[in-house]
């Protein structure tokens, strides 16, 4: 039996494994990270590469190492002198810098050795411990941290489902097998979405595909440096949030996340691409779609467009992540959920005696920053604050 089993090896799971071993001092042999991907941070690396991200939206202090200024110090090391480093406002790292730092922290701290490749199937109570049934065999642990993100639930709008089943050239940016369809010079690829991923993807495709690219967004494109107000990282907003009931917290989280926006430098790049004719923009709501077997007909609230390929950049489905695995755990441990389906957890992020949550599953405690990198750091702080009782 091990002391801690972390289910999910993305940013959150990797950071918390690092924290447990190298800050708390839990023996390395007592911490395991279960994840279906061979490489740490696989979903992060794939999604950020797919959308052509250049700079993160979060500052350098939001990183996976324990010292808050670790990324700055790494940036000063001789090995990374040749790449872009930071961009204002605040100091937001370039994606290559952030990823190199992650790789450095994982290698230097041998976090990869904590990983088990496999998928969790069920959790069962086993006296005072938990047995996880997994595709890698049963794993028995004193405590389990559920660090499951939204990566396996890309959002497909209802109009897009029928296209998917009819074999049309449509795919989602956040599908693991994503690859934009190769197009000819006279073709049109439509990107659907209005957030930073959609804008970045349309810029990237307009530069790489030989045909035209058009972005269709339901709302006007908005500029915002953040995807939530930084007040949600600390007591400025969280104090009142924690005084409110869970139903109200769900509304606060939904209202606080600034969806469908992008930082100024991304918007500037977008406008440059539009001005050169590489990229077109249309505001409109797609109502239905069909295919003639070759092209895709998109009916918006203003017109009808024919596209040769469609790329969805419509984010993730907002439902509770974890699917059937979490459903089973809820039944097996009688875990409490809010009306929105998300876990009701205390300030120690404890969902039951020895099950803890982080990431989106901890949204009703961590607030709107739960799914971001800083959400992992805040989760770690809460676990440490309550360490004596764990």
């Amino acid at each position: 039996m091990i002391e801690w089993l972390i289910i999910g090896g993305g940013i959150h799971g990797t950071y918390l494994s690092h924290l447990l071993v190298n800050q708390v001092g839990v023996d390395r042999d007592e911490v395991k990270v279960l994840d279906p991907h061979e490489e740490p941070l696989a979903a992060w690396l794939m999604f950020t590469a797919n959308c052509g991200m250049h700079y993160l939206r979060s500052p350098a202090t939001h990183n996976i190492d324990i010292p808050v200024l670790s990324l700055y110090r790494y940036a000063k090391s001789s090995t990374i002198k040749s790449i872009d480093t930071f961009i204002p406002p605040y100091n937001r790292p370039s994606l290559p810098l952030f990823n190199m730092h992650c790789d450095h922290i994982i290698r230097h701290n041998r976090l990869g050795a904590l990983r088990i490749v496999g998928r969790a199937l069920a959790l069962e109570k086993n006296g005072r411990s938990i047995t996880a049934a997994t595709t890698a065999g049963p794993l028995k642990a004193r405590n389990v941290i559920l660090a499951i993100g939204l990566s396996e639930q890309p959002y497909w709008p209802p109009w897009a489902y029928s296209l998917k089943t009819s074999g049309a050239r449509i795919n989602h940016l956040f599908d693991f097998n994503f690859g934009p369809a190769k197009t000819s010079a006279s073709s049109l690829t439509v990107v659907v979405g209005g957030g930073i991923s959609a804008i970045q993807t349309s810029i990237k495709l307009s530069a790489s595909l030989s045909g035209k690219v058009r972005l269709i967004s339901r709302h006007p494109l908005r500029i915002s440096p953040y995807d939530f107000d930084p007040c949600w990282i600390g007591p400025k907003c969280l104090k009142e949030f924690h005084l409110s009931d869970f139903g109200k917290r769900r509304n606060s989280v939904d209202q606080a996340r600034i969806n469908g926006s992008a930082p100024r430098e991304v918007m500037a790049e977008f406008h440059r691409a539009v001005s050169t004719g590489q990229l077109e923009y249309q505001q409109g709501r797609i109502q239905c779609a069909s295919t003639d077997g070759r092209r895709i007909r998109l009916k918006t609230d203003t017109d009808i467009k024919w596209a040769d390929a469609v790329v969805l950049a419509t984010g993730f489905h907002p439902e509770r992540p974890g699917g059937a695995f979490i459903d089973q755990a809820i039944r097996s441990f009688s875990l409490k959920c809010g009306a929105c389906g998300y876990p009701l957890v205390g300030k120690d992020l404890r969902w039951s005696e020895n099950i803890f949550v982080t990431g989106p599953l901890a949204e009703l405690q961590l607030g709107p920053c739960a799914r971001n990198i800083i959400g992992a750091r805040n989760a770690g702080r809460l676990l440490l604050n309550n360490w004596s009782s764990l």
């Binding site: 939001h62 808050v68 700055y72 605040y90 100091n91 007040c231 990282i233 600390g234």
Partner: protein, 52 residues
């Protein structure tokens, strides 16, 4: 004078002070009142780290 950074990403720069909290330009981080908090997230001074 040194700059200090909050975990949220806000950087206290003595050359800018903090007008929102009536902190004069030129005030060193060490001279900020004990009850001063990060104007962005509300974190207390103890959470700040000095930038190299």
């Amino acid at each position: 004078m040194d700059k200090w950074e909050c975990p949220c990403g806000y950087i206290y720069d003595p050359e800018e002070g903090d007008a929102e909290s009536n902190i004069q330009i030129g005030t060193a981080f060490e001279d900020l009142p004990d009850d001063w908090v990060c104007p962005k997230c509300g974190a207390e001074k103890e959470y700040f780290e000095k930038l190299d």
